[in-house]
Amino acid sequence: YPLHDSARDDDAGMELLQKYLENYYGLAKDVKQFTKKKDSSPVVKKIQEMQKFLGLEMTGKLDSNTMELMHKPRCGVPDVGG
């Protein structure tokens, strides 16, 4: 059970990250490829861009501080220009 929950949490986190980066940081929408790309350089760069903008440590990873901030209520306007 713990393993299952953890996996599910991870999936949910990745989904949130993907949506967050797409909505607010201009990440190209590519649902099928995202899981594979999560460790790729463009995604890491986008995570770092988000972390820098939000004043977080730029780990390039989906750490707990980043997750916490992504769960907070916010303005729907993107953080970066198109």
Partner: protein
């Protein structure tokens, strides 16, 4: 701070807004008040002024909606996205939308409407998000904000002033036209013990006392009033006017003479006037009014005619039923014909000839009898 790509901004300093609908979470007055307060935040640090309109297309259209609401950027139910707004421009641009799946509150027990509105209206004026966590334009909502100590960060101020500049010397005040100099003090009978006024109105925090072709302009910050020709500020306005009153949330002063009335906004004489006083719902037999006052808190305007008065509902934009009523019945102590009336410090000041009555609307009684020129420090 950042601005939107291309740095769109309003090419004028007077911006209109309209509250298109309301959230069921709050009384309408609370929504009105939160939006007014949010606009004030930006008004204080720029030359911008705002006025509210109740119908038609405003520069900033404010609405509450859930899910998909016609702009292809649907809201997401409770939490996460609270609101969004569009950069300055025509049509949907400048508009602010609030997710009505949030629980909007006046305090911070839910989502505070003032804080979110102040942020969104920053977008409506051309600011993009700030990366400074202390800035109002930071994208993440901070429920811990102490509302009583709210202020813009320097980053917000730098951002908005990069678009619009700093406030003019006195943003609330009516600038003196270059063609108009104050008249010589001896030309002004302001200290005459028999001085009476045609009309008195506030205008952006000052008080204007109208008499024949002239008016005295009194700021509470300066002891001496200025004395001007009405025509040097507003060439189309009549002399010897009957009444004047300000509707502050629309930034308009209405001027009455005979069966017509005019409207001004600062220096601007508004198009479409004069209109007939009968368009307000006053009876066709009435050919003039004596005095008028609009009470901001109640959103009611009172028209005084001889010993009676009518009351106009500013929200419904219609005359209220049950009027006219006797002035003396509802304003005990105000027994003489009223020349002029205005509001200051929560009191109503009624002018009749060279006398002035200070009326406390809460106690419903006259609290002082003064000379009409008591405001001039003679």
């Amino acid at each position: 701070f950042t601005t939107f790509p291309g740095s769109p901004k309003w090419r004028k300093t007077h911006i209109t807004y309209r509250i298109v609908n309301y959230t069921p979470d709050l009384p309408r007055e609370s929504v009105d008040s939160a939006i007014e307060k949010a606009l004030k935040v930006w008004e204080e640090v720029t030359p911008l002024t705002f006025s509210r309109i109740s119908e038609g297309e405003a520069d900033i259209m404010i609405s509450f909606a859930v899910g998909e609401h016609g702009d292809f950027v649907p809201f997401d139910g409770p939490g996460t996205v609270l609101a969004h707004a569009y950069a300055p421009g025509p049509g949907i641009n400048g508009d602010a939308h609030f997710d009505d799946d949030e629980r909007w509150t006046e305090d911070v027990t839910g989502t505070n409407l003032f804080l979110v509105a102040a942020h969104e209206l920053g977008h409506s004026l051309g600011l993009f998000h700030s990366a400074k966590a202390e800035a109002l334009m930071y994208p993440v909502y901070k429920s811990s904000t102490d509302l009583s100590r709210f202020h813009l960060s320097q980053d917000d101020v730098d951002g908005i002033q990069s678009l619009y500049g700093t406030p003019t010397a006195s943003p609330d005040v009516l600038a003196v036209p270059t063609t108009s100099n104050p008249l010589e003090p001896e030309a002004s009978p302001m200290c005459s013990s028999t001085l009476s006024f045609d009309a008195v109105s506030t205008l952006r925090g000052e008080v204007l006392f109208f008499k024949d072709r002239h008016f005295w302009r009194k700021s509470l910050r300066t002891p001496e009033p200025g004395f001007y020709l009405i025509s040097s500020f507003w060439p189309s306005l009549p002399s010897n006017m009957d009444a004047a009153y300000e509707v502050t949330n629309r930034d308009i002063v209405f001027i009455f003479k005979g069966n017509q009335f005019w409207a001004i906004r600062g220096h601007e004489e508004l198009a479409g006037y004069p209109k007939s006083i009968h368009t307000l719902g006053l009876p066709a037999t009435l050919q003039k009014i004596d005095a008028a006052i609009s009470i901001k808190e109640k959103k009611k305007t009172y028209f005084f005619v001889e010993d009676k008065y009518w009351r106009f509902d500013e929200k419904k934009q219609s005359m209220e039923p049950g009027f006219p009523r006797k002035i003396a019945e509802d304003f005990p102590g105000v027994d003489s014909k009223v020349d002029a009336v205005f509001e200051a410090f929560g009191f109503l000041y009624f002018f009749s000839g060279s006398s002035q009555l200070e009326f406390d609307p809460n106690a419903k009684k006259v609290t002082h009898i003064l000379k009409s020129n008591s405001w001039f420090n003679c």
